[in-house]
């Protein structure tokens, strides 16, 4: 108990015995002790004077928290669909062979642990893994062998990074091999801009006028849902509250999206400036950047940028001498896709399980710690900065009537130029495919697994809120891919990431996946397929939050757009097909009894 107790006491004291900082407390304690055992859970609970099951609930909710040791070197290998396309299977095998343990376990000496993880935001440079917080991209079997040898020799993980990416990835505060792959710069995000100029412009207006300008520009949330930003800020501004909060959702967990990673790397000051403008507009003096755990490698760098901005008086007290106070802290996540949902994100930032809240009340009414809170996407804040400089009218001239401005897309999969593209809203899928070198695509997944999978007949459709909405994820699926494998991977993802709160999402996704597997096995009837389609509708209609309302989409949209593929898998001559295999079912008992199974066909 000695060391454990001391570590917990010290960490809890560092966060002023504040139970709303439980995420940070667990992160820090785990960093020291390697895992959070039942004893450690009890220590933390008693220090914070909360129930131990509350602490255990949080520890076991997040993918990167663990109750058991995961090795001195913990390898989290991405298992997203695009990782699989890019050879993840061979890489996983290489890790297992070199390390001498299977995925989901640690080596007998406790040196190396191998674990799967959902998309880490590196789809344009897969296969990729995170080892002790450090990102390794474009993995090859040879690289894996060298890395595992390094781990066995006790090398420092950071020292295993020998090549560095472009731009700020080379900064002494990042030193990462991650590449930006900025393939197309547009006028909103990647045009030149002078730090502080936008905030200065905003502070010279009345807060209401700032909001009006955003409304004039018809800016909508860039996370994918597309709620009008100005309206959200207006609600937040008008909500009663002793204080208010601005939260930036940097939890980009939708498989296939990585555009926020590039913004955070290359234009974080633009983002932070946008947050400050939001603070000014809604009347908040505190901001929180909720950063997904996978991007921990940027934390030091982002802290440095925040420090620079404080020095320049773009953050802190009396900003630019205008009497406006605003500062930002970084809240790390710990691996949970559902935290991308704004109320789940707030729950998480308050030190709880990342379960979405029931609404009403909405975050703009009762958000972080019960105060009015506006939660916006990374890209949205950057758009705000440009609108303050160029005006809402200018912004609105780009895009379509319902979707103003540009959109930053993360393009990956079967194309020659994966990376990020800033395009005007309204761009057709066909135009995009030509831009990225993906003409041969047979399908495109728009908006990640929770979005829509379309085929060639729909490539003329446009990327915008009123047609094909996307938070940025575009996955290109080439002619030789088995679409079922991709759909199955997406369903695995949703089963893994469901928070478990509501029944349709918790149980429904497991059921959908099982039925999908039945169809994939070839032992299914037309009725099985029709039932599957109807079950998708039930889960979409009855689930509580966006996760469950969209999780059937991989199946649902492929049944709609690739019905022929499903029909080719199912039998049309009979209405019932069993997957039962007598020979397989008796194997285990016969082995135990020392019998040779004899099965005659009936």
């Amino acid at each position: 108990m000695g060391r454990e107790d001391a570590v917990v006491k010290q960490v809890v004291a560092k966060y002023n015995n504040d139970k709303t900082r439980l995420m940070d407390i667990i992160t820090d304690v785990q960093h020291e002790l390697g895992c959070i055992s039942d004893d450690t859970i009890r220590c933390i609970a008693s220090q914070l004077q909360i129930s131990s099951v509350d602490v255990e609930g949080v520890v076991t909710f997040y993918h990167f928290f663990t109750k058991t040791p995961r090795g001195r070197y913990t390898v989290y290998l991405n298992n997203s669909a695009v990782a699989l396309m890019k050879g993840r299977t061979a890489i996983a095998k290489a890790f297992e062979e070199a390390a001498g343990c299977r995925f989901g376990s640690i080596t007998s000496d406790g040196t190396i642990g191998l674990y799967d993880t959902s998309c880490i935001g590196m789809n344009d440079q897969e296969p990729a893994a995170i080892i002790n917080g450090v990102v390794f991209t474009n993995l090859t079997t040879q690289k894996v062998k060298d890395m595992v040898a390094g781990m066995k020799a006790g090398k420092n993980v950071q020292d295993m990074v020998t090549e560095f990416g472009d731009g700020a990835n080379q900064s002494e505060f990042i030193r990462s091999m991650v590449k930006n792959n900025i393939m197309r710069k547009g006028p909103v995000l990647f045009a030149p801009y002078e730090m502080g100029s936008s905030l200065k412009a905003a502070l010279s207006k009345k807060p209401e006028d700032v909001i009006d300008e955003i409304k004039l520009g018809n800016l909508r949330g860039r996370g994918g849902a597309g709620f009008p930003t100005g309206m959200k800020w207006d609600f937040c501004r008008k909500s009663e509250g002793a204080k208010k909060f601005v939260v930036c959702n940097a939890d980009e967990g939708e498989p296939g999206t990585f555009k926020d990673r590039v913004i955070l790397t290359e234009i974080p000051h633009m983002l932070f400036e946008g947050m400050a403008i939001a603070g000014y507009a809604v009347g908040a003096s505190e901001g929180i950047l909720y950063l997904r755990a996978e991007y921990q490698y940027m934390k030091k760098y982002l802290e440095k940028i925040l420090g620079d901005m404080r020095e320049k008086n773009l953050l802190g007290k009396n900003i630019l001498g205008k009497g406006f106070d605003f500062d930002i802290r970084i809240q790390m996540g710990a691996g949970a896709y559902v935290c991308g949902e704004e109320s789940a994100l707030i729950e998480s930032a308050e030190g709880r399980r990342g379960e979405p809240r029931n609404r009403p009340p909405f975050p703009v009414q009762k958000g972080y710690l019960g105060y009015p809170t506006t939660v916006n996407n990374v890209e949205t804040f950057c758009c705000v900065v440009r609108i303050m400089l160029e005006g809402g009218e200018w912004f609105k001239k780009m895009g379509t009537a319902q979707s103003a401005g540009t959109k930053l897309l993360s393009v990956s999969g079967d194309c020659s130029n994966p990376g990020i593209y800033e395009v005007e809203f309204g761009t057709t899928v066909q135009t995009l495919l030509e831009m990225v070198g993906g003409r041969t695509a047979k399908a495109v997944q728009i908006g990640g697994p929770s979005g829509t999978c379309i085929g060639k007949k729909d490539f003329g459709r446009r990327i915008c809120y009123d047609d094909l909405a996307t938070g940025g994820s575009i996955i290109i699926i080439g002619p030789d891919r088995d679409l079922f494998e991709i759909v199955h991977n997406f369903m695995d993802f949703f089963v893994e990431e469901s928070c478990g709160w509501c029944v349709p999402c918790r149980a429904g996704n497991v059921i959908l996946k099982e039925r999908l597997e039945k169809i994939m096995s070839g032992k299914a009837s037309m009725k099985d397929m029709e039932e599957l389609e109807s079950w998708c509708k039930i889960i979409k209609s009855m689930s509580r939050c966006g996760l469950g309302q969209t999780s059937p989409n991989p199946i649902y949209t492929t049944i709609q757009n690739f019905r022929d593929l499903y029909e080719a898998k199912v039998r049309k001559d009979v209405d019932y097909v069993t997957t039962f295999d007598l020979m397989a079912a008796v194997q285990e008992s016969c082995k135990a009894a020392g019998r040779i199974p004899k099965v005659e066909e009936h």
Partner: protein
């Protein structure tokens, strides 16, 4: 205090401001099926069985406040089928061996299945492996039957206000667990309260069982909700 006017399936209803749709419906003699909901506890919106349609959108009636002029669709064929589907999901998600369960006849999940005349769930049985915990002095936690309604989590607290029950893990692996120390010191009354709150046979008080004979149990002769429904 002002009165709210609204309709459920065309029936004119009134409510007090702040009431949820479920509460207001009950007061007007309309039954909206619920499972996780329990009067007096903060609504959780877990089971989604109370889903109704308002303005074309589905919402949980237990968490949504009623508003003036609201037009609520409740007993539509589609909603009733989807509600039945949720009951069926719960039956395949756990291991519900009704004949072995002492809550049978008093179980709300079972009662909903009766109400919806569930002859067999439309979904495949998942037969999960779930742990039973009989190590506590006053109660047995039988997770095979748990529907994770969170009633125990919300209502059962130690004298100092700490929660005794909580949920751990996530997704399909999520399960009810306890603060062992606090659970060890549960009183008989609290154990009884936990068992009574539990809509299924997942929390059972030790030493007493099968006290009410078949035929006299809560849902033997009257469907769940029949005490609320008025023509």
């Amino acid at each position: 205090m002002s009165t709210i006017q609204f309709t459920i399936d065309g029936k004119q209803c009134t409510a007090k401001p702040g009431q949820t749709i479920v509460e207001a419906a009950k007061q007007n003699g309309v039954y909206i099926p619920t499972l996780c909901h329990f009067e007096g506890l903060k609504p959780a919106g877990v089971c989604r069985i109370c889903t109704v349609k308002v303005g074309g959108r589905n919402m949980a009636a237990c968490t949504t406040p009623v508003a003036d002029g609201m037009v609520v669709e409740n007993k539509t064929a589609e909603l009733e089928d989807y509600r039945k589907a949720i009951v069926e999901m719960l039956f395949v998600e756990g291991n519900h061996m009704c004949p072995t369960c002492e809550k049978s006849g008093n179980c709300e999940l079972q009662a909903l299945a009766y109400r919806y005349m569930m002859m067999v769930p439309r979904f495949p049985f998942l037969f999960p492996k779930r742990e039973l915990d009989a190590s506590l002095p006053k109660i047995v936690i039988e997770r095979n039957r748990c529907v994770q309604c969170l009633r125990c989590v919300r209502a059962i607290t130690a004298p100092d206000g700490k929660r005794i029950f909580g949920i751990v893990k996530r997704g399909g692996h999520a399960k009810i667990n306890v603060d062992r120390e606090l659970a060890q010191s549960m009183s008989d009354e609290l154990a009884q309260k936990a068992m009574d709150l539990c809509p299924v046979g997942s929390i059972l008080k030790k030493e007493v069982g099968f006290a009410v004979p078949i035929g006299k149990r809560k849902f033997d002769t009257k469907p769940i909700g029949s005490d609320i429904e008025r023509a």
